[in-house]
């Protein structure tokens, strides 16, 4: 036998790989034939060369690359056509599937947008990972978390070389703004609830908003904020105060006391920053406001914050050590061991509720995680519905599948067929979900107080959506597809087979259990969250919170004006009582001052108690229903020398019985002595998330800043009328002051705003879970009732009652839901306990808090099951049995 040379391997492989299937054989054949012909005549090497050239010749031909596409097109079209037919044939199931997926996808999209917004806070500053906020942690148990830094500390920190940049700012919160005319006369007044801050020019150096830098409409960061008494406003404020007029050079008076000249206008700050500033005063004005306190190492204002940028590669701990050394060198030993200054990364600021932010919004990583988990579970639950319904339905399709297999459909074809159906459903659902989210997002975000928008041009949205579509198609479609394609055609045609089984338990039951476990965990959690909110709303705070009390903020404590205002108020028929005080017993945005108090022999910091001191008049206790436990009430004759203390302060000072402390002399931090005239019951000055503070009250008239008015509205009298009358009196006495008032109950409710918002979100999403779960059950039961139609008919003819038949259907699902409840309780219990530890005062976790939502879900599921099985049971057996 002759030994022939072989053609070059690479050229052979090239042809084998690239040639279209239907041409490969003849091309390879012809090439080989010509090669052999060459090989007999020529040298092996030139035969091989010619072979290679011919191969390359083929590669250069257009026909070689043309693929007969008609075949694939044909099948793709057919997949979708078949999918459309089968989906339309089962409209009910399709609708349930789509609905379940719409809810899942819409919720997931909403949650992803919210989470993405929360995670974006202040991440746009250049090198934000290297920016730190200086914080103050103090107390023997390090339980007090504040951001205020004494004024003297930052200038001294200039010597710490690891600090590359530093910027000081004091957030002043809200203020009263008067607009002055050119000759310095009062023109009009505005009340700002927040956004007033003093900043250094360096602020815009540290926080550069690099994504979309804040534009300076007039002025510039270097000069506009350098001079004392200069002010930069945002364009929103400029528009509000001056309309289209030029604000530059105008003078604004804050709080009736401090004048600032407008030197710049900037764009509004973005919504995802924790620096929501609108009126920026130059930091160099600080000495005008705070005077000698600027050199104080000890006393603090909580709004005075320091941000630093560290040198690259510097250890935070080292800088903190240097700060501690600096602190220890300038204050007494007691204070330096009691108070610690630390650095918190800017990337943690938005997620740490213990220090808070200027935007008053924080969200813990736990909450974000919980939200993400909910989104994931909603998607999973939607998929489970799909898997359940389509595997159940596959029994109906067994004949179709068997037929397809006999006609030569491969397993691959069938998998693609089922996946195509899933893809269509998921696509429809995704588009509907997108529309739903776009429509509902505005109401959702206004409920949450967020500014999240669905932007259809955001590539992230489409990436997320396609990822969800792809994942859901695979997750929901793959198992049914594998299951269906694996049918043995013979048994399939004979309609005898079971759906998949997992260790003896039917897969569907297993999935129903998972679904309802998730539902019940959220139902229980939501129920407890709501119970906690109710607890906040109704618990006894130590004073009468149900009375209708309007509190009015004073800008001027001039006693004679105040007295005439009080007299005028008391003349109004609906005013039950009037009290003047430094601050309110509770609520947000309360003025608060604290000092130290101890027994006369106190010397060390440890001997003193930190307490909140307020000034009240003789009507205060009465108006708020605060009880006097021992001693007497304050009278106008009492000065700041005589005080009332609360029970907590009394106990902390070492007295056990209220009468014992009455008459006692106490020493205040500065050395001044005070005299205790009475003891009042404890009331919550803070939210119930915290404990009761030490409180002492005196009668210093010049410190009054609030007027509380208790209303007693006769039937038929409108609140709005009463308020108008109050305002009219106010304007008579204080013509230049804005009438700022709040209702007591609103003020207290604002403590729990954040919790309330998220509790509403939880309620919405647990409703979604229940809805998807019930939809799925409904679909399953409908299917089973149809399939068991004959069985029911036979049972009925043999004497089963409607009740028996409903029982037959329900029994299984009651058992399944009971199992999922048993699984849900420990999970929910763990989560709820974690959450409740955030609050000093919380509801007792009792069995009924779990039982009630559990029974509710069970009842709902049972209602769905029995409704459908009742229909089945009521059907006339003849209709079912007639056709055999």
């Amino acid at each position: 036998m002759e030994i022939y040379p072989t053609p070059p391997k690479w050229a052979e492989t090239l042809i084998a790989r690239l040639a279209p299937d239907h041409l490969a054989e003849e091309i390879k054949g012809d090439l080989y034939e010509m090669f052999l012909y060459d090989a007999k005549r020529l040298k092996a090497s030139s035969a091989r060369r010619r072979y290679s050239w011919r191969v390359i010749g083929f590669l250069a031909k257009a026909f070689f690359w043309k693929r007969p596409t008609y075949q694939i097109h044909h099948m793709t079209g057919s997949y979708f056509k078949m999918a459309k037919r089968s989906l339309l044939a089962n409209k009910g199931t399709t609708a349930i599937n789509v609905l379940g997926l719409v809810i899942g996808i819409a919720s997931a999209l909403a949650i992803i947008s919210i989470v993405r917004f929360e995670l974006s806070f202040d991440t746009f500053h250049t090198g934000y990972k290297n920016i730190y906020r200086m914080v103050r942690v103090s107390g023997d148990d390090l339980s007090e978390f504040r951001t205020g830094i004494p004024y003297a500390i930052p200038p001294a920190m200039k010597d710490i070389s690891s600090i590359r940049k530093m910027t000081k700012l004091e957030y002043l919160g809200g203020t009263n703004v008067d607009i002055l005319s050119a000759d310095g006369k009062f023109e009009r007044t505005f009340v700002e609830e927040g956004g007033v801050v003093t900043v250094e020019p360096e602020f815009f150096d540290v926080f550069d908003f690099a994504d979309s830098p804040i534009k300076w409409i007039s002025g510039d960061p270097k000069t506009s904020l350098s001079e004392p008494s200069s002010l930069v406003i945002t364009s929103a404020i400029a528009k509000k105060y001056f309309g289209e007029a030029n604000p530059i050079g105008q003078t604004l008076r804050f709080h009736k006391a401090f004048d600032f000249k407008i030197t710049g206008v900037i764009e509004d700050f973005p919504s995802n920053t924790d620096f929501p500033f609108r009126l920026l005063v130059s930091y160099s004005s600080m000495p005008l406001i705070f005077k000698e306190r600027m050199s104080d190492w000890v006393s603090v204002n909580d709004g005075h914050s320091i941000y630093v940028v560290l040198q690259d590669g510097v250890k935070v701990k080292d800088v903190e050590d240097q700060m501690a050394k600096l602190h220890a060198a300038n204050v007494g030993k007691d204070l330096s061991t009691y108070r610690h200054y630390l650095l918190q990364p800017l990337s943690e600021v938005h997620f740490d509720p213990s220090f808070g932010t200027f935007s008053k919004r924080t969200i813990t990583h736990n909450t974000i995680f919980a939200l993400e988990l909910i989104a994931l579970c909603l998607l999973v639950v939607g998929c489970i519905n799909y898997v359940n319904l389509s595997t159940a339905q596959s029994t109906l399709r067994s004949k179709e599948i068997g037929m397809r297999k006999i006609m030569g459909s491969s397993q691959k074809n069938l998998v693609i067929q089922v996946l195509a159906e899933t893809l269509i459903i998921v696509l429809i659902a995704a588009m509907a979900a997108l529309a739903l989210v776009a429509l509902s997002m505005p109401s959702l975000t206004s409920m949450l107080g967020l500014q999240v928008k669905i932007n259809f041009f955001d590539p992230f949205l489409w990436i997320t959506l396609s990822t969800i579509i792809a994942t859901m198609t695979i997750c929901a479609g793959l198992y049914p597809a594998m299951l269906i394609s694996r049918f043995n055609p013979i048994t399939a045609i004979k309609n005898q087979f079971n759906t998949g089984r997992i260790v003896g338990v039917s897969l569907r039951k297993f999935l129903v259990v998972i679904q309802f476990t998730a539902t019940q965990v959220l139902a229980v959690a939501t129920f407890i969250v709501v119970a906690q909110m109710e607890f906040f709303k109704n618990v006894d705070m130590g004073f009468d919170r149900n009375a209708v009390v309007v509190s009015i903020r004073l800008l001027n404590s001039d006693p004679s004006l105040l007295n005439s205002f009080e007299t005028e108020l008391r003349r109004l028929p609906f005013v039950e009582n009037v009290a003047k005080s430094f601050t309110l017993p509770s609520g947000v945005d309360r003025n608060r001052s604290s000092r130290n108090i101890g027994k006369p022999d106190a010397n060390d910091v440890q001997d003193y108690q930190n307490y909140e001191y307020s000034a009240v008049d003789e009507h205060f206790l009465d108006l708020y229903g605060i009880k006097l436990i021992a001693g007497r009430n304050l009278t106008p004759a009492d000065s700041s020398r005589n005080i009332l203390v609360n029970e907590t302060l009394m106990k902390n000072l070492g007295y056990n019985h209220p009468p014992d402390i009455v008459g006692a002399e106490l020493k205040i931090g500065g050395g001044e002595m005070v005299h205790v005239v009475g003891v009042i019951n404890d009331y919550y000055g803070n939210s119930l998330k915290e404990r009761v503070d030490n409180i002492a009250l005196d009668a210093s008239i010049d410190r009054f800043r609030q007027v509380s008015v208790r209303l007693d509205l006769a039937s038929g009298q409108r609140m709005a009328d009463a308020l108008t009358k109050l305002e009219r009196q106010w304007k008579l006495i204080y013509p230049e002051h804005a009438f700022q008032f709040r209702f007591m109950d609103d003020n207290i409710a604002m403590f729990y705003e954040q919790e309330l918002k998220y509790s509403r979100l939880f309620q919405i999403f647990s409703a979604m879970f229940v809805l998807i779960g019930c939809l799925g059950l409904y679909g399953l039961i409908t299917f089973i009732a149809n399939k068991k139609g004959k069985e029911i008919a036979v049972r009925k003819t043999l004497g089963a009652s409607v009740g028996n038949i409903i029982m037959m259907f329900s029994r299984e699902y009651v058992a399944l839901i009971a199992v999922s409840f048993a699984l849900a309780v420990p999970i929910a219990r763990y989560g709820v306990n974690e959450w409740l530890t955030n609050f000093k005062n919380h509801v007792e976790v009792q069995w009924w808090l779990f039982a009630v939502p559990g029974v509710m879900v069970l009842a709902l599921a049972l209602a769905v099951v029995s409704m459908k099985s009742f229909n089945a049971a009521m059907a006339n057996p003849v209709d079912k049995l007639r056709t055999e």
Binding site: L23, E25, E26, I27, K28, G29, D30, L31, Y32, E33, M34, L36, Y37, W53, R54, G57, F58, A60, K61, A62, F63, F64
Partner: protein, 106 residues
């Protein structure tokens, strides 16, 4: 004349070769026959491309057959003139003849 016939010069030659060879017309044999008859050498890939075009236009039809060891056991694609192809050749010839007849003897 039933419509115009689009047939390139090489295509026409290839078509004639298919008709000439008859039963064993495939890529290699057609190339060899073309070279033998006209002295024209074309690459095998060009032959395949032309035969494809002819098949697309409906002048030839093909079937697989005739595996042999000298092809490494691979089958040939055997081409065969269709009725349309035969008619096309005939018509082209008629047109030419008619034109030749009108030429004053060269």
């Amino acid at each position: 004349m039933a419509g115009r016939i689009y047939l390139g010069e090489l295509e026409e030659l290839m078509l004639l070769m298919v008709a000439l060879i008859g039963a064993n017309a495939y890529g290699v044999s057609i190339t060899q026959e073309l070279e033998a008859q006209t002295g024209r050498v074309i690459t095998i890939s060009a032959a395949h491309a032309a035969l494809h075009r002819l098949e697309e236009k409906g002048f030839v039809k093909s079937s697989m057959g005739g595996a042999s060891t000298e092809r490494g056991g691979r089958r040939k694609r055997l081409f065969q003139l269709t009725a349309y192809g035969r008619q096309a050749l005939q018509e082209l010839r008629n047109v030419r003849n008619a034109i030749w007849a009108q030429l004053p003897g060269i």
